[in-house]
């Protein structure tokens, strides 16, 4: 990349992403106006429905939990120089692992043994679905983007096959597994709070959100405080130099993709163990792709990812409310907004940079007399 334009950090990390977000939202507002609704009204309903009451907030945080996991998944791979489009498939495959554990050994185990086992099996299966494309990239030279796309479809086909054949209880017509035993259910946050004497309205928000917070902290520690994370970032930013410094880029591809897949797999914990209590078809519901938008918006940093995940939580929960309130307004507007954010904050992120550089140079050149880099 040409680094002709150098902007101060607060513009590069703060202002520019916000500006790009605003452009994406402005285009989305244009679409809302085009279909004959008032963008202002839609925005009001969106904010009120997602942040205005405790129940809405609960749903917002529940969605955001998924997006923290998939956002982190995309970001960790990104730090290793890998673009993982496969979070969707990794979460799907993790769901299969979690379901197998819950149905095979779940009934005989108490919750305090089973729940960690479920988290572990989701992580291992998610990691596995990331490791295979990782291996194929590092040792066989196939491109990670294409392979992870293919692996999304493979995971989807596999889960359809398993759900209509071996996993479907005899005599059942609906495409879902048998219900998990009670011990496989993660406690809801409302239940946890009740134990401590607080009262929260019921929502799908569950203990998986605590795992999400832990995952955020872990990724911060891993990437910037641990030796393994340093090696991953080194390989991601300068593979040849990293090789020269004694790191093995091939192994780092496995580290990046394995961790990425495991993080994506946590979506299965939130959805299946936290809410559904059984394996359902397409439970990931696009969260893996939203992770790409979250990671791009959050500049691949856990703090940014948390903020972006909350933003998308607001969009998802608020979008449901808007679709409910405004006639002829479809939930797919959220997918559109997501696409616009990926477009403007991702693919076109540097389009406005020269403009900012010009304005910045003018303003600061005048203030300090000399241009600062």
């Amino acid at each position: 990349m040409s680094k002709a334009i150098s902007l101060p950090r607060w513009i590069d990390v703060g202002l520019l992403p916000l500006w790009n977000l605003c452009i994406a939202l402005a285009v989305a507002a244009g679409v809302v106006a085009l279909i004959g609704h008032s963008p202002v009204q839609a925005f009001e309903v969106l904010v009120k429905g997602s942040l205005g009451n405790a129940r809405g907030l609960g749903y917002t945080l529940y969605y955001a939990t998924n997006f923290v996991f998939t956002g982190l998944a995309v970001a960790v791979a990104f730090h290793g120089g890998l673009f993982n489009i496969g979070a969707e498939g990794q979460a799907t495959f993790a769901g299969l692992g979690l379901t197998l554990a819950a149905l095979l050994v779940g009934a005989s185990l108490p919750a305090w043994v089973l729940l960690p086992l479920l988290v572990l099996s989701a992580a291992v299966f998610g990691a596995l679905w990331g490791l295979v494309p990782g291996y194929l990239q590092a040792w066989r030279g196939s491109h990670i983007v294409i392979t992870t796309i293919m692996f999304n479809f493979l995971a989807a086909s596999l889960s359809v096959y398993l759900l209509v054949n071996p996993l479907r209880p005899a005599g059942s017509m609906s495409v879902e597994s048998a219900p998990f035993p009670d011990s496989a259910k993660l406690p809801g946050l409302a239940d946890l709070a009740a134990r401590w004497g607080y009262e929260l309205p019921s929502s799908p928000l569950n203990a998986a959100s605590l795992i999400a917070v832990a995952a955020l902290c872990f990724v911060v520690w891993f990437l910037w405080r641990s030796r393994a994370g340093y090696a991953l970032r080194a390989v991601g930013s300068a593979p040849r130099a990293a090789l020269y410094a004694g790191m093995n880029p091939k192994v780092q591809v496995l580290v990046g993709m394995g961790l990425s897949g495991a993080l994506a797999g946590m979506v299965a914990v939130n959805e299946l163990s936290g809410v559904q209590g059984k394996l359902t078809l397409d439970f990931v519901a696009g969260a893996g792709f939203t992770g790409i938008a979250v990671s791009l918006m959050g500049r691949n940093h856990p703090v940014g990812i948390l903020l972006a995940a909350l933003l998308f939580g607001v969009l998802y929960q608020g979008g449901v409310e808007v679709a409910f309130e405004l006639p002829g307004f479809s939930r797919e507007m959220v997918v559109t907004v997501q696409g616009l954010i990926v477009l403007f904050a991702g693919a076109m992120s540097m389009v406005s940079a020269p403009l900012f550089a010009k304005v910045y140079a003018k303003v600061y050149g005048r203030l300090s007399g000399a241009g600062r880099g």
Partner: protein, 335 residues
């Protein structure tokens, strides 16, 4: 011909209908795979094929229904696909944004916007109005569209197999196969094609020769957009009678797989598309059928085979797929 002598009328009709549906299912794959081939040979990754095809299908369905004019529908489909290709070019060629991210974005925008607009404008759950038969793109030889009738009229082999199998299609099916030849001729026998290939392998050299890298890449993207537009129109105006949400159903990605499977070359890509089309055509027929020695093959496995084969090919287990050298690399002009 010994084998054929043993076959009865029913077998010919069966084979004819498998052949016919293979060609019908191959058509959109082929058009889009060729579009991807043009873009990628010029050095631009085209993950947005799915989105371009979906948006084009919506435009075809919506515009034909609104204007009651087939030609305007086709034109609109191509126009919308071209508009998305220009966005892709603006992001990745002009501003050197990430080509993969841009493609992913286009797919998301198309998936969302087609449903949002469809529900708002037509109020039927995202579907466009059903087109009457006069407005659709229909078979050139209507007498052959029913395999049994064709077999009765012209004999089992001539009518049921060849007639229904090969000659019962609409113009877009034949156009897709002609496009293979055209793309091959463009890339291998014309000056523009040579330049497109060169810009995908060594853009600096093309630049040094005084040609515009950007213009060549935009040209390749726009030529591809025409094919994506036709593919979308095929889905909404020929294969179905209207647009329905997510009607591409991952075909853009299968086409991408076919293009890689065909190693970025027109004729092998045709082969891959035919193979994937055949798999698709047989998947439904194989449900519940036990193959000798293998037993019943799950339909999901047959449907997943294109993806599986592509993974295996890319991993170098069946030959090696070598991408254009400058693929995914934005070109920075030396100053």
């Amino acid at each position: 011909m010994g084998v054929f002598r043993e076959l009865g009328v029913d077998d010919f009709v069966q084979l004819g209908s498998i052949l016919a549906s293979t060609l019908r299912l191959t058509t959109p794959l082929l058009l889009v795979a060729l579009a991807g081939l043009l873009a990628e040979r010029s050095g631009v990754v085209d993950l947005g094929l799915e989105g371009k095809m979906l948006a084009a299908a919506f435009a075809a369905g919506a515009i034909t229904a609104a204007t009651q004019n087939t030609f305007l529908g086709l034109l609109g489909a191509v126009g919308v696909a071209a508009a998305l290709a220009l966005v892709h070019g603006f992001a990745c060629v002009t501003h050197r944004g990430d080509q993969v991210i841009s493609g992913v974005a286009l797919n998301m925008v198309a998936a969302g916007l087609t449903v949002v607009l469809g529900i708002a404008w037509f109020k039927t759950g995202g579907q466009t109005p059903t087109l009457p038969i006069e407005l659709r793109i229909t078979a050139l030889a209507p007498g052959l569209t029913e395999p049994l009738q064709a077999a009765q009229a012209h004999g089992a082999f001539l009518g049921g197999f060849l007639g229904h199998g090969l000659l019962s299609h609409n113009a877009l099916v034949y156009a897709a196969f002609v496009a293979v030849g055209l793309v091959w001729f463009l890339l291998e026998r014309t000056r523009l094609g040579l330049r497109i290939r060169a810009v995908g392998e060594n853009p600096a050299m093309v630049d040094a020769a005084g040609l515009s890298v950007s213009r060549l890449r935009y040209t390749a993207l726009l030529l591809g957009a025409v094919l994506c537009g036709l593919a979308g129109a095929y889905l909404a105006m020929a294969q179905s009678a209207n647009f329905s949400p997510n009607m591409t159903a991952g075909r853009g990605y299968i086409a991408l797989a076919a293009m890689i499977f065909g190693r970025w070359r027109p004729l092998p890509t045709l082969g891959a598309c035919l193979l994937f089309g055949l798999l698709d055509a047989t998947a439904i027929r194989m449900q519940g059928v036990a193959l000798p020695g293998v037993g019943e093959v799950p339909v999901q496995l047959v449907q997943a085979l294109p993806y599986l084969l592509t993974v295996i090919l890319l991993a170098g287990f069946i030959g090696q797929a070598v991408a254009p050298k400058a693929l995914a690399k934005p070109y920075v002009k030396e100053r």
